[in-house]
């Protein structure tokens, strides 16, 4: 047993309102540069829909992830090492700009400069690649809220698969359709196929927290990682010629604060915590023959943070005490392993993804409501989950390689939680039999409700700080005086009076983040003080 820690995220899809705040704040923080215009480390897809890039889930086309070879061993779906090297001169399977979209801006100048005339001047769209006029025909969110799904919905790989397998039709007629949102970031997999595809060895998994990063200095732009990632969450910066990906906001995580997407999530649908897992058994779990057993195999290598043997082994591996305590309080462990209501996205890719999802019950509830049923009653809900095969099958293709029983069990737990809590809210007592019907206790249901519905910041995000003994090695952490008890801690007072935040952040104020070179650590800037270094005096210009 080799115990390792993994920072992980869970998204409760019922709570996603599809506002795209996560995408926008992420973009502002990470990919607002030339070369990354089309890059969305975080994007929110409407399902059913094509996703971003188009149809990325069709691995017969894109060859992402792993497959089992004849001897039952893991092999990259795009081919073995020799094949990859022999085809390196023109990557054979590579999404094109047209599979994402051609980034554009508008010629706003024309609104002001156009000569006087009878017609209103317009701001024509201009390509950010060629600078010429362009027609906008796709974007990262073209089919948002089922926009255009009547035309393109048939191309959703999962819709196609279900239609093939079950004669039954997924209807896009207005009154019969369903939809939900699927926010996606990099999965920070335990068995990442992007990493395995990289000829240069530039992609690595941090041994402390499992975050997967691209070493920008070592990347040579072979782009095999883009083929290798089945989620297409590695992007090509077409200006620098290097691969870029979601960083799990590691500079923030190191300071014990959640990612930008989680921090700004309006629906509070994201949870961040750590898992302890057995690194020795990852390959074994990813090589399970039956795709439908991959979810269980993945769950099995997640270790119990209360098991004394696990704790002993973890300490031996050098995992600090604060991390073990965080693992015991981890919301992701509770959701995924204890209550088993969070599922990995596409386990059949065999990458052991570490961003999990609580599947949405809302399509079913919406339908019951529309039909005039009591959508909170246990019996109505249980019956609807079973009979409403289409959403369940769709969800199963996303989360359990098509095994509907797992998804049904999760949805039943969520339905039971609603029914159980309704009794309490209406002044009664929770009925134990509702909990028992889904194999839980009333107490567990209540705890689940607390975490899912009303948990506070400190319960949703249990992120232990990185240990700073070697802080001077880290570029992002400017001042080594900021560690616990150091003189930098003085400035923590900057947070008193802000109310909401339960835990002070060691470098949470601007004054604290002043770096020796005069630059500003934007990730730890508190947004209150004026970061003078960001407004340098330029020759000849006057300050407004």
């Amino acid at each position: 047993m080799r115990v390792m820690a993994q920072v992980s995220m869970i998204m409760a899809l019922d709570k996603c309102l599809g506002c795209h705040t996560c995408s926008v704040t992420c973009k502002q923080a990470w990919t607002n540069r030339a070369g990354t215009e089309y890059v969305w480390f975080n994007n929110v897809e409407t399902r059913p829909g094509l996703g971003y890039p188009k149809r990325y889930e069709d691995q017969e086309q894109w060859k992402g992830g792993w497959t089992l070879n004849k001897r039952g061993r893991l092999e990259l779906k795009a081919g073995n090492r020799f094949k990859k090297l022999f085809t390196i001169f023109a990557s054979p399977i590579q999404p094109q700009m047209s599979d994402y979209y051609e980034p554009w801006t508008y010629d706003y100048q024309n609104l002001i400069n156009a000569p006087l005339g009878d017609d209103f001047p317009v701001a024509k769209p201009k390509s950010l690649i060629t600078g010429e006029d362009t027609a906008i025909d796709w974007s990262a969110n073209w089919d948002d809220d089922l926009g255009g799904t009547f035309e393109t919905g048939d191309q959703d790989p999962i819709v196609q698969k279900i239609r093939r397998e079950s004669e039954e039709k997924i209807k896009f007629e207005f009154e019969k359709t369903f939809m939900f949102y699927l926010p996606r970031i990099c999965e920070h997999c335990l068995n990442p196929s992007c990493m395995a595809s990289c000829p240069s060895g530039a992609i690595y998994k941090r041994s402390e927290d499992g975050i997967v990063l691209v070493d920008q200095d070592r990347c040579r732009g072979w782009r095999q990682c883009i083929t290798g990632c089945p989620y297409k969450k590695i992007y090509f910066n077409h200006k620098s010629g290097k691969a870029e990906k979601c960083t799990f906001c590691y500079p923030r995580i190191e300071h014990g604060i959640p990612t930008v997407c989680a921090e700004t999530c309006v629906g509070r649908m994201r949870y961040i915590g750590i898992f302890l897992y057995d690194a020795d058994r990852v390959s074994e779990a990813a090589s399970v023959a039956d795709e439908k057993e991959l979810y269980q195999a993945q769950l099995d290598i997640m270790l119990d943070p209360f098991d004394p043997e696990v704790l002993r082994e973890a300490k031996k591996q050098g995992i600090p005490q604060s991390w073990l305590e965080a693992a015991q309080k981890s919301p992701v462990y509770k959701l995924a392993k204890e209550w088993k209501i969070a599922l990995p996205l596409h386990p059949e890719y065999r990458t052991m993804p570490m961003v999990w999802y609580v599947p949405p019950l809302s399509p079913i509830i919406d339908l019951l409501k529309e039909q005039g049923h009591d959508a909170e009653s246990k019996d109505n809900l249980f019956g609807a989950i079973d009979s409403l095969r289409i959403p369940v099958e769709y969800l199963a293709e996303l989360f359990t390689a098509g095994d509907t029983t797992v998804v049904v069990n999760v949805l039943k737990k969520l339905a039971a939680m609603r029914a159980y809590m309704r009794d309490i809210t209406l002044g009664g007592v929770g009925k134990e039999e509702i909990a028992q019907a889904v194999g839980m206790t009333g107490e567990q249901i209540y705890e689940m409700y607390r975490l899912m519905a009303i948990s506070k910041y400190s319960e949703r995000y249990v992120v232990p700080k990185a240990h700073m003994e070697d802080a001077h090695n880290l570029e992002e952490i400017g001042c080594s005086l900021d560690t616990d008890g150091g003189p930098g801690m003085l400035y923590d007072d900057a947070f008193s009076g802000t109310g909401e935040r339960p835990t002070p952040i060691s470098t949470g104020s601007y004054a604290n983040t002043a770096r020796a070179d005069g630059k500003v650590n934007i990730f730890a800037w508190d947004g209150k003080t004026r970061p003078d270094a960001m407004f340098p005096d330029t020759k000849g210009s006057t300050r407004v």
């Binding site: 607002n32 540069r33 030339a34 070369g35 090492r81 020799f82 090297l85 085809t87 390196i88 001169f89 023109a90 990557s91 054979p92 590579q94 094109q96 700009m97 801006t105 010629d107 100048q109 201009k126 950010l128 690649i129 060629t130 600078g131 010429e132 068995n191 990442p192 990493m195 395995a196 990289c198 000829p199 240069s200 060895g201 992609i203 690595y204 998994k205 941090r206 041994s207 402390e208 927290d209 920008q216 200095d217 070592r218 040579r220 732009g221 072979w222 782009r223 090509f236 077409h238 200006k239 620098s240 010629g241 290097k242 190191e254 990852v282 990185a466 070697d470 090695n473 880290l474 570029e475």
Partner: protein
């Protein structure tokens, strides 16, 4: 033996080596972030998909031909019973011409693509353009030399009698400049063009050839690295927000 001869065949080769090796080391040390293939497949793939492998595989063959032709003395091949005629026809023509043509064809298509596809052309720097001119010139003259020799048949110029010994003499720091005096002009142009290309090499995207990822065959699939393991330093870093190209595109 004129001053020009001494400079071109006795001095320039060493200048080229110093700049090629020194420049590469300097770039490797200070510009890891800029060390990339700068692929344009993202913009255009159809032409690239067949032209780029043609060029690269052709280039591997051309490189192999140069190694054999320049490094293995004529006396050695004759000792194993290969006459100059056999070598010329079998090696230089039958192997050399196809590889050369494939390389040239690949390059022509790639340059055509670069010029005609707007997205690719917009991503082409001055550095790229100079590099392409030299690459094209070197390969075209190399091809010309081979084709000319094919028409001349057995009376053609035997470069293994003068250029190859001169090339080998460079390695022992005793350059036999006089050997190069009577070499036909097309050979000389090919060599000089290659010299200039090698001088520019470390400062262009061609450096990607020096980091061909053979170690991929031997490394483990999953790479763990400790957070504090490597010190960042000397990196160029990301460009600031609102880089110039956005504004220049929309002037």
């Amino acid at each position: 033996m004129s001053i020009l001869d001494i400079f071109l065949w006795g001095v320039l080769p060493y200048v080229v080596v110093v700049i090629l090796v020194g420049g590469t080391i300097w770039r490797y040390k200070y510009d890891q972030f800029g060390w990339t293939t700068r692929s344009s497949q993202f913009y255009e793939s159809k032409l690239l998909k067949f032209a780029s492998p043609l060029f690269h595989y052709g280039m591997l063959g051309v490189f192999g031909g140069h190694v054999v032709g320049l490094m293995i003395p004529q006396s050695w091949t004759e000792a194993v019973g290969i006459t100059e005629d056999m070598y010329h026809i079998g090696g230089a023509l039958i192997m050399g011409i196809p590889f050369g043509l494939v390389t040239l064809l690949g390059l022509i298509v790639m340059v055509f693509r670069r010029r005609t596809n707007k997205s690719v052309f917009a991503a082409t720097t001055v550095n790229d353009k100079i590099m392409y001119v030299l690459l094209m010139a070197t390969i075209a003259f190399g091809m010309a030399v081979t084709v000319i020799s094919a028409f001349q048949g057995p009376h053609g110029h035997n470069y293994r009698a003068d250029i190859s010994p001169w090339f080998r003499s460079l390695f022992i720091f005793q350059p036999e400049v006089s050997l190069m005096h009577d070499v036909p002009l097309e050979f000389k142009i090919h060599i000089i063009s290659a010299f200039v290309l090698f001088i520019l090499w470390p400062f262009t995207r061609l450096v990607h050839a020096f980091t061909a990822p053979f170690h991929y065959l031997f490394r483990p699939y999953i790479v763990y690295r400790s957070r504090g393991g490597e010190k960042p330093g000397g990196r160029r870093g990301w460009d600031p927000v609102g880089t110039s190209d956005r504004e220049s595109l929309l002037k």
